[in-house]
């Protein structure tokens, strides 16, 4: 759909960029993808996100919007075509926002902590915390989905996008550490949701394969340490 001038500054491997790509696709918005170089940040990035200097940045008619969760809500409000990303009921919206904050502030940082933890003991300690979080998420999914396939109900919504976008990197971490983070025996409903989300038409070409992310990570480490 012709939606004015829409550009997305990012990298294909960033889960936060993937969130925006998915949301744009849900609303059928065409956009130009501008590839950023995270090892040598562009003038455009530094000018459009001076506070954090991070991707994603969405440009709508040249005006920048930063922070993935802010961008998702912007997309939902500005282009009201296609399925809603956020629920319409204020209480359901508050619950979605609560879990999105939990994911970004508590759960996903543990996955990063796992990556940086050294030694089996340290890694096991972090994994235990992740597993506790997984149980909370499993319960949350059952309560919020109310028997439907997604957090958003019949179709992918805000919380599906927020959590689902991270699955590529979670699975990449599983490969790198040779551990199971998303244990289907402990979180059966979420495991099914995971399959459903990743194979969905809208999502499947956007979330990168975990093996490719492992490759990216290893290359990034090399370049980073070469500098």
């Amino acid at each position: 759909m012709a939606a004015g001038n829409v550009k997305l500054l990012g990298v294909w491997a960033s889960p936060f960029v993937n969130r925006v790509e998915i949301a744009l696709k849900i609303r059928s918005i065409e956009s130009e993808f501008i590839q950023e170089n995270l090892l040598n940040k562009s003038e455009l990035l530094l000018k459009s996100n001076p506070v954090y200097k991070k991707i994603p940045v969405l440009f709508h008619d040249e005006k920048p919007i930063c922070e993935s969760l802010v961008i998702l809500q912007y997309i939902d409000e500005v282009w009201p075509n296609g399925p809603s990303i956020l629920h319409s009921d204020p209480y359901d919206r508050a619950i979605s926002r609560f879990w999105a904050a939990y994911i970004d502030e508590k759960w996903f940082p543990l996955v990063t902590e796992l990556r940086n933890a050294e030694g089996k003991e340290a890694k096991t300690a972090v994994l235990e915390k992740i597993y506790e979080g997984n149980l909370l998420l499993e319960e949350a999914f059952i309560k919020i989905s109310k028997g439907k396939p997604f957090f958003g109900g019949d179709s992918i919504g805000y919380l599906d996008v927020v959590i689902g976008s991270l699955l590529g990197w979670v699975k990449a971490q599983e490969i790198m550490d040779e551990v199971k983070i998303l244990d289907e025996t402990k979180m059966p409903s979420l495991a099914e949701w995971d399959d459903r989300f990743c194979s969905d038409e809208i999502v499947k070409d956007i979330i990168p394969q975990p093996e490719k992310l492992v490759e990216v990570y290893r290359k990034y480490q090399e370049s980073f340490y070469k500098k």
């Binding site: 506070v51 709508h60 005006k63 919007i65 930063c66 922070e67 969760l69 802010v70 961008i71 809500q73 912007y74 409000e77 500005v78 204020p90 209480y91 919206r93 508050a94 926002r97 609560f98 904050a101 939990y102 909370l136």
Partner: protein, 220 residues
Amino acid sequence: MANDEVILLDFWPSMFGMRLRIALAEKEIKYEYKDEDLRNKSPLLLQMNPIHKKIPVLIHNGKPICESIIGVEYIEEVWKDKAPLLPSDPYERAQARFWADYIDKKFYDSARKIWATKGEEQEAGKKDFIDVLKVLEGALGDKPFFGGDNFGYVDVALIGFYSWFHAYETYGNFSTEAECPKFVAWAKRCMQRDSVAKTLPDQHKVLEFVKILREKYGLE
């Protein structure tokens, strides 16, 4: 909306709880205020916020809303016909959400270092804090409030911290007026609103409270 039951679980010095008190006051919503003893949390708090066990918790007709900024958005969406806090333009709304999120990410941690630590860590906290204030001054620009002419979402998110400034200045040994005069002018402007003046605790009372905390941390 008659027959609405609104309860706020809070703690009087909490700058996060203040956000909800101000939003409720702006919208003239009647509610029951319950002050929690954080060393002895009530069964209601533990039941309503089992994950974080923190205040503030807004309870609307028995249903809890946790996390203060989420609570402010909820209040805005439910009582949307009264005193709107968010602008109607989606781009301006995105800017408001961005800045409220920035405040959540940056303000508390750097401010806390000023009164809860000493030495190098305290100095680093003080520097970060002043940097944050300057970024916020930049966002405010020449506008009376963050959203423009009207008191709104970002002002609500930030003004509660002002009740802690006497404590920050005392323990950090600096003057906000000297470093960030625009910020102080904005704060005083907000304090002229009833909802803010009646919500924010006295700065000396907060200083006394922080003194007790510091004694507990062995800093006094």
